[in-house]
């Protein structure tokens, strides 16, 4: 069981000693139950930090933001940033370091073990509460406890936990400077890729129908891309400008730019967007599930990434975010690769 006091004490102490410039964690949101990202910069703010089943966010995204801001301001960021990271979040940080996005010493990882109770899926919860809106969620052993206007409501975590947490193989941040909670690796509640496997039991035409339906519904709000710490490219194929524009860029270059994807939210363009993103996450996605959670129209985006993740695992025995020094999937090859083209 994680005691929030430990996390607060750590944050307060590090800030007081001037060891880090910010502690990125979670705090109570202003709109009700869900936690929100917190950027703690002074010891007095440390008591704002919380840890509960609504700490969904993969905060490593903000390490990416920070790096981008320092690059833009051409300013050395100085002291490291401390970050509260769950198992999947810590693996994201590892992937970012594998890709040399920032250095190990730039980050102080305050690991939190999910201890097998993961985080909540609000969509699952809604079906249990019949319109009652909870104001608070808390861990209690294998249960989640919700505070509502109609009193306390207790539910077994596994009934309302996010699928990715049910299927999580390693709910523990192996890469950390400090870690809270017990390592409950092995306490897996569902088979890995269970949702994907179930989906794939259907025939080709059913699967095509389901995904065509979802591709038609995509609004291209890009929440899945924006919330993803791996989608850090400065230029993205879906943007109106897909290359860096400087004062030296000629008018002709701008006018004749290639537009890979039109802005219209329609099936052909949406497929290109979502599939391009899935391909670019192969061997990099640590299944934090943020894309899935953020999608305002409930497109099961995680399934696309899961498909790539399973390919990487089954074909190459590859586990994204396993170690900083390890090879990255698409930038390495095996001497015994069965394909000739690679040698």
């Amino acid at each position: 069981m994680i005691n929030i006091k430990d996390i607060r004490d750590t944050a307060r102490d590090m800030l007081a000693k001037g060891e880090v410039r910010t502690v990125i964690g979670y705090r109570r949101g202003s709109r009700g139950m869900p936690a929100e990202p917190a950027f703690i910069t002074s010891p007095e703010q440390a008591d704002e930090l919380i840890w509960d089943p609504t700490c969904y966010h993969n905060l490593s995204l903000y390490l990416v933001h920070d790096r981008k801001i320092s690059a833009h301001l051409q300013k050395n960021s100085g002291l490291p940033i401390a970050i509260v990271a769950k198992g999947c979040d810590a693996r994201s940080i590892v992937v970012l370091m594998q890709e040399h996005y920032f250095k190990r010493e730039d980050v102080y990882i305050i690991g939190v073990s999910c201890e097998g109770t993961g985080v909540l899926d609000e969509r699952k919860l809604a079906s249990h509460l019949n319109g009652v809106q909870p104001t608070l969620a808390a861990f209690d052993g294998d249960d989640y406890v919700f505070t509502t206007a109609e009193g306390e409501k207790r539910l077994p975590a596994r009934e309302v936990m996010a699928d990715r947490c049910l299927e999580c193989r390693i709910p523990f941040p192996k890469e950390h400077n400090l870690v809270f909670g017990d390592d409950k690796t092995g306490r897996q509640l569902a088979e890995p890729f269970a949702a994907l496997t179930k989906f794939e039991e259907q025939g080709n035409s059913e699967r095509w129908d389901i995904w065509s339906h979802h591709f038609d519904r995509c609004m291209r709000c890009f929440a899945c891309r924006s919330v993803c710490p791996m989608c850090y490219c400065d230029e993205c194929v879906v943007d109106s400008i897909t290359f860096p524009v400087t004062q030296q860029t000629s008018a002709a270059e701008k006018a004749d730019r290639v537009r890979w994807i039109e802005r219209s939210a329609m099936r052909s363009e949406n497929i290109t967007y979502l599939m391009t993103r899935a391909m670019h996450l192969a061997g990099r996605c640590t299944d934090c599930g943020e894309c899935d959670r953020a999608c305002p129209v409930n497109i099961p985006i995680r399934m696309l990434n899961n498909k790539m993740e399973r390919e990487a695992r089954e074909k190459f025995g590859y586990e994204p975010g396993a170690s900083i020094g390890g090879p990255s999937l698409v930038a390495s090859f095996l001497d015994n690769d069965p394909g000739d083209f690679i040698r």
């Binding site: 609004m219 890009f222 929440a223 004062q247 959670r293 953020a294």
Partner: protein, 344 residues
Amino acid sequence: MEKILDKKRIDDWIAALTDWEVLAPALQDGIWTYKPVSGAARLDHPNTRQSPKELTFPQREIFFSFEQIKGEPPKLTQILPKETRHVVFGVRSCDGKGVPRMDKVFTDHVEDTYYTTRRKNVAYVGLACNKPPSSTCFCLSVGGSPVSTDGLDVQMTDLGDRYFVKAITETGKALMKAAGSLLAEAAAADQKQVKQVHADAVAYPQRKINDPDGAPAKLKASFNSPLWDEMARACIGCGICTFLCPTCHCFDINDEVQSKAPLKGQRVRTWDNCQFPDFTMHSSGHNPRENTGARLRQRVNHKFQYFHENFGMHQCTGCGRCVSECPVGIDIVAVVNKVTENVG
């Protein structure tokens, strides 16, 4: 015109609207969406995930097609929207309030033919909120009410086993006339009950913007406040808040080229979004709103200052979608309160 409709007969009324294509909220993929009615209409929705703005301002609008054969003058063909008449059932008061705001934008100085063609063919049948459907509702703070009739053609109020149905516009009267004998005269007891239901709805506690009237001036005075950067720190720069908003209307126009030789394609308008980093990107590469703080300020000030200066009303209708659906908890109520409370 005030009538009573037996709840069980709503489908008969919808069936009687033969000149109209009827839409109503349907629960699909875990979210409520306006869909053409097939079978029984359900009006037990909280609010739809997306506002009904898509009907008058679709995410993709084709303006015209173009074609140029070498040596010949270019050929342009305007493509106006089809004149299908739509009636939308179950529109909540906040979304009704969005309608006159969109009308201002698209008809006040310049009439946008694409918008007006669609607009004159849409009728809104509202459903008053007996209590706020979401904990993020704040219509009372922005000059609205859970029982407001702004923008609606008909307003329905749930009275248990029946609806109190009130015509607001001439179109609304026509819709009600089509129901014929399905609609009974409202009795004095019904009138009394509806008054009570509406009074209870307005008295139901909601989240609050503390000084909505003072907001335009206070926001103007806070343009350079450091709070913008602080409150936008978690913003991921996605389009959820504006795409779901019943009044956000920014768009982009692009030529979608289908063939280079001969040159052939369409000019299309698509939704755009002030939270996207490239929204204000200049051709030089300079971006005047270069961070999330500047972009959050734009969204909030547009709703609570600029629109108010131009049209004398807040552009926000308090539906709360941007609050409940933001993946990182950016909360327009909290932002307006925090920024304005720091001004004298």
